[in-house]
């Protein structure tokens, strides 16, 4: 009951605000959606405490689809993993709803915005509480839809529409793998219910299936396909291009969807399917490789960007890489732990950035900021807290989780474990550097904005700063509070995260050498110090470095030319192919002989069919008699022969 209300309260809010927004007005929509989200967040908090260490149970809702052996019901799976996710989602969403009241105060379509936010929250909750892969897919696509709607919320801006479409299409690529994965799971296990899959996974280990004439390890193939889906949703290397562009949406959207919750769905998927992944070593190696590469790759881009939201977006991408390689090396708990702390400090950073943008009259370029820290002291403090948590300053949330992830990478025996460790440490340096750069450029130095803007700089109203404060508390203490998740015996998770019999990484990660434990701290100090040198002590240094390493800098600055490459290969290639087929194949051959011809003959057939209908009753009677004679004849000739 508690969980049903928790999950469906946002849906109710979305329906009320979406359909009756005009009737209840802006204020009404805000009250309804925020009120229901607060309810949901409270219940999620209660649920978290109630479910930690408890075995999984299922709350059935409705019967859904029964086709042959294919069965899927609407049900909520409640276990520690889903409870942690529900808590993260509801809690962040609740405060972001409240923040939006202030941030979107001047917008023209407030009910629509609130309805979309609530709808997103509902889909996300459905995703994390799903009890079978189809329901997971329902939530998966639902959040995709909500993300599309919210990125394109200001649909009159062409860039917003383009970004929304890009996000949708890039996600389709991932979903293609995901759907194949679901189909494959059904093919192999004859069910899509988690329980049954998990029970059967061990038995399927080392079995093979034949694809394209070669035999493959069954579980490796399935895990690989599912991971393709996760890559799309979580913006991993190759399918990451949509995430920075998604920053076209309103900032609360970036905070909720593209930092705290939706993009972590891929990590959740890997953790949820851990019983499958544990028996798929090759897929895990692939996960580790992709995760570690993304962590470094996104951080390098983050170094050079000037849009404040894009910097944070690349940072998100990079942090997601950390979570993935944590899962890849077998430390799913560390991955989820990082997901949980990351949600707080990244939402905080985004909302803080939103507050800055709000203060700077919608300016997002850091080159036109600076010197405002005295003017917006609360936002400034909050941004510092978020940054310290992100770069893993001792005592802050990120410190615990990032250390855990890196230690696990060192301790693991995965083929790419050490690759992940070293890339992770390097990325930590870069993280600290670009985070410091963000703070220095935004708040310190000479004011680079025009006089008009500087004159208007003001602290945000309490409805925006209070959510910042709450999330800041989370960014400081979430690490302490969540340490239980790293428990080596896995009592916290009570089996909801599975680790194979040979997987001792959660043990081993506590027994790594001292220098491994110290490495993240050193990396952080190095990065932060360097950024101080670059942007405060010697402000002309960045330009000099950039020109000294021109090729490298332009590579980073242009995001490794991924967009250009994709444009060249896929977009233009597909378009050229399409035009070729359209002109040559479709118009030339198919249309001439196919649709046009078929359509003509269809019309002719239709006309003939209509002409039978003379309107004379005796013609009709005659037709019936002919019909019965024909049927009897048919029977006598063909059936009795």
């Amino acid at each position: 009951m508690l969980h049903t209300v928790l999950v469906f309260a946002p849906l109710v809010g979305a329906i009320v605000a979406g359909l009756f927004g005009r009737a209840i007005g802006d204020r009404g929509a805000q009250i309804v959606t925020c009120g229901l989200m607060v309810l949901s967040a409270l219940l999620a908090t209660v649920g978290l405490f109630a479910n930690v260490g408890e075995p999984a149970r299922t709350v059935p809702l409705l019967e859904w689809i029964y086709v042959g052996s294919f069965q899927a019901d609407w049900a909520l799976r409640v276990d520690p993993l889903s409870s942690v996710m529900m808590f993260v989602v509801s809690f962040c969403s609740c405060w972001i709803h409240i923040y939006s009241v202030g941030y979107m105060a001047h917008d023209k379509s407030i009910p629509r915005f609130m309805a979309y936010l609530s709808l997103f929250t509902f889909f996300m909750l459905m995703l994390v509480t799903s009890d079978n892969l189809l329901q997971l897919f329902f939530g998966w696509e639902g959040v995709g839809l909500a993300s599309y709607l919210l990125i394109g919320f200001w649909y009159t801006r062409p860039s917003a529409c383009a970004a929304a479409i890009k996000a949708f299409i890039v996600n389709r690529v991932g979903d293609f793998g995901f759907v194949l994965g679901i189909a494959g799971v059904f093919l192999v296990f004859d069910t899509i219910q988690y329980d049954t899959i998990f029970r059967g996974a061990a038995g399927m280990a080392n079995s093979t299936i034949v694809l394209f004439g070669t035999s493959w390890d069954t579980l490796d193939v399935l895990a690989f396909l599912l991971f393709i889906g996760a890559m799309g949703k979580s913006a991993q290397l190759g399918l990451h291009t949509w995430l920075p562009d998604a920053m076209e949406g309103p900032t609360p959207v970036s905070a909720l969807i593209h930092a705290a919750t939706m993009v972590t769905a891929g990590v959740f998927l890997v953790a949820r399917m851990s019983p499958l992944f544990e028996y798929a070593p090759d897929a895990l190696a692939f996960v580790t490789f992709i995760g570690a590469s993304t962590a470094l790759f996104a951080a390098t881009i983050g170094l050079t960007q000037f849009d404040i939201k894009r910097v944070i977006a690349y940072s998100t991408c990079s942090q997601l890489g950390y979570m993935f390689f944590a899962c890849g090396v077998g430390a799913y708990a560390a991955g989820i732990f990082h997901l949980y702390t990351h949600a707080f400090f990244k939402a905080l950073l985004f909302l803080g950035a939103g507050s800055v943008i709000h203060a700077m009259s919608d300016e997002q370029d850091m080159r036109r900021m600076g010197g405002i820290w005295r003017l917006v002291p609360v936002t400034y403090a909050m941004m510092w807290i978020g940054t310290l948590a992100l770069i893993g300053f001792p005592g802050f949330a990120g410190f615990f989780s990032k250390d855990a992830v890196l230690e696990a990478a060192w301790a693991s025996h995965n083929a790419f474990a050490h690759y992940a460790f070293w890339l992770g440490v390097t990325a930590a340096v870069l993280t600290a550097f670009y985070s410091g750069r963000l703070i220095w450029m935004t708040f310190h130095g000479e004011p680079r904005a025009d006089h008009e803007t500087m004159h208007h700089v003001h602290e945000s109203p309490p409805v925006m700063t209070i959510p910042l404060g709450v999330l800041a508390v989370g960014a400081i203490f979430a690490g302490w509070l969540g340490l239980g998740m790293l428990d080596a015996e896995g009592q916290f998770w009570a089996g909801s995260i599975f680790t194979g019999p040979d997987n001792h990484v959660m043990h081993d990660m506590h027994e790594v050498p001292f220098w491994v434990k110290a490495a993240p701290f050193v990396a952080m100090a190095l990065g932060l110090g360097l950024s101080y040198v670059f942007y405060i002590l010697a402000p002309d240094l960045p330009a000099r470095v950039a020109s000294a390493f021109r090729p490298l800098h332009s590579l980073f600055y242009n995001k490794w030319y991924f967009d250009e490459l994709y444009d060249l290969v896929f977009v233009r290639g597909a378009k050229a192919l399409g035009v070729a087929f359209w002109r040559g194949g479709d118009q030339g051959v198919i249309d001439r002989f196919g649709p046009d011809g078929v359509a003509l003959s269809t019309l002719a057939a239709a006309r003939r069919a209509v002409r039978i209908q003379t309107g004379y009753v005796y013609h009709y009677a005659f037709a019936m008699l002919i019909g019965v004679a024909a049927l009897v004849t048919w029977y006598l000739v063909f059936v009795r022969g």
Partner: protein, 485 residues
């Protein structure tokens, strides 16, 4: 053998209600009679549904074995009663606007529904025929209900004359079967035919009985409006008052389909191989004609006639499967068809210009701008009828085709898919006209709340069927299991 009337309770209740309402209608003041009787009729149908829902679902014979109440009949009866109640509700505003609001409308619908209910509960050819006639006679009158309208009277007369011919065929078939077996009871026939199949190879089964069956199928195909016994449909659908068309297209077809399934699966259940080809033929012809002939239509009611012919073709695909899965698929298909069709007619009844009901497809132009919700609802029904996922209509087709494939009729399923592609053309054309063509005149804004309500509810049911299909599927499954023992 006792004379237990408990299984017949729903019919008895409807009968008594109908007779009482007849008196009520005569004694009430003229201006109010139509409304009062309509309200009470709907109430009676609702109570009837509740009685059925609460009744014992195990097979029970009554009235000398001519009547059987089982899960199968219960499922169909609830569909029929709901369809009839909605047809009465849909009609009130229309009849009032056309100045033909008379209480007999509701009564005739009620008696016809009673006949249909007897049809699906028939356990002998005698009961089958009597139920069929009781259901048909009020329909003839209803078709001509707008008696000062030439088209309406013509529709009634055509329906009557051709209906009589079809009844003749049915009776001829029944007499052949009786001549062979010496009984009209389905149960005894099932035993006799089962024994005949057991001792002889199919090629040597009695010719007379099987030819009789062909005649019976022809008679039922007339009620179903399946090709080549469909000729009456476009004219009658177009001429009849629109709510009557809705009733003809839904309840009447559902009852006939239920009856056909019972006749084929119960007494002739052992003879699947004998009738399968005939049903397949009718099914293919219906699917193709429904798809092709509808393209040329300008009147939306005629279009619905062909669309209905096509739908029956798809439903017959499930019948042709001749298995429990097939029956299950047919039942689901019928239920979804009933909802979609009633909703579509609700939309048609929403279209008025200057107090006149318009029914040309070109009249739909501009509906999306002036009445966005009505256009959206009609759009949902059209997409659903075209079988586009995730709407309800898709699942009906899916189940039917799956059943056909399981029964080894893959090519029939393929043919069905192809013809539904052709059919999608004219459904989508309506959407195109609604959304992309410029309107000539504005639509009336005043609407009848009952019509709006029914349209909205059926549209939501069609749209969100995928979210909670469980109850319908389970009920249909139980009903199918009850028939195919």
């Amino acid at each position: 053998m006792g004379f237990d009337l408990t299984p017949v309770l729903p019919e008895l209740f409807l009968l008594v209600a109908g007779l009482v309402l007849l008196v009520v209608g005569v004694l009430t003041r003229e201006g109010e009679a139509a409304r009062v009787v309509a309200t009470l009729s709907v109430l009676a149908l609702v109570i009837g549904s509740i009685i059925i829902a609460a009744s014992d679902k195990s097979p029970q014979l009554a009235l000398g074995g001519h009547y059987v109440a089982d899960g199968f009949s219960a499922f169909l009866k609830i569909l029929l009663f709901v369809g009839a109640a909605l047809a009465i509700l849909l009609a009130q505003g229309f009849l009032h606007d056309r100045r033909i609001a008379r209480f007999e409308y509701s009564l005739l619908v009620l008696f016809s529904t009673l006949g249909m209910s007897m049809m699906v509960s028939a356990n002998s050819f005698l009961a089958l025929y009597m139920g069929l006639e009781l259901s048909a006679l009020p329909l003839y009158v209803l078709a001509a209900f707008d008696r000062d309208n030439l088209r309406s009277t013509e529709a009634g007369l055509k329906y009557f004359v051709l209906g009589a011919l079809a009844s003749g065929m049915l009776l001829y078939g029944c007499s052949l079967v009786y001549g062979f077996a010496g009984t009209l009871s389905f149960d005894v026939l099932a035993d006799a035919f089962g024994a005949a199949t057991a001792e002889r190879p199919p090629a040597l089964l009695p010719l007379g009985a099987v030819v009789g069956l062909v005649f019976i199928i022809a008679g039922l195909a007339f009620k179903l409006a399946a090709v080549p016994f469909h000729m009456w449909t476009p004219d009658v659908y177009e001429g009849s008052p629109t709510p009557v068309t809705a009733f003809l297209a839904t309840a009447s077809k559902v009852a006939a389909a239920g009856l056909a399934v019972r006749v084929l699966m119960h007494p002739f259940g052992e003879w699947t191989a004998q009738w399968q080809q005939v049903v397949v033929l009718i099914s293919i012809a219906s699917m193709l004609l429904g798809a092709f002939a509808a393209i040329g239509q300008a009147n939306i009611k005629r279009l619905m006639a062909y669309s209905g012919i096509g739908h029956i073709g798809y439903a017959l695909v499930g019948v042709a499967a001749g298995s429990e899965r097939g029956v299950y698929a047919v039942l689901v298909y019928l239920a979804i068809y009933l909802v979609m069709t009633l909703g579509t007619f609700g939309c048609i009844l929403l279209m008025r210009r200057q107090g006149q009901y318009v029914e040309q497809i070109s009249d739909l132009a501009g509906l999306s701008r002036q009445r966005p919700m009505a256009a959206a609802a009609l759009g949902v029904f059209m997409f659903s009828q075209a079988g586009i996922p995730p709407l309800a209509g898709f699942f009906g087709k899916l189940l039917v085709f799956l059943a056909a494939v399981e029964a080894g009729l893959t090519w029939l399923a393929v043919l069905g898919v192809l013809s539904s592609c052709v059919a999608a053309f004219y459904y989508l054309r309506i959407v195109k006209v609604m959304y992309f063509d410029e309107a000539a005149e504005p639509f009336d804004t005043a609407v009848h709340p009952a019509v709006t309500g029914i349209t909205a509810i059926t549209a939501l049911a069609t749209l969100f069927f995928i979210v909670w299909p469980g109850p319908l599927l389970r009920a249909a499954g139980a009903a199918a299991a009850a028939l195919v023992r």
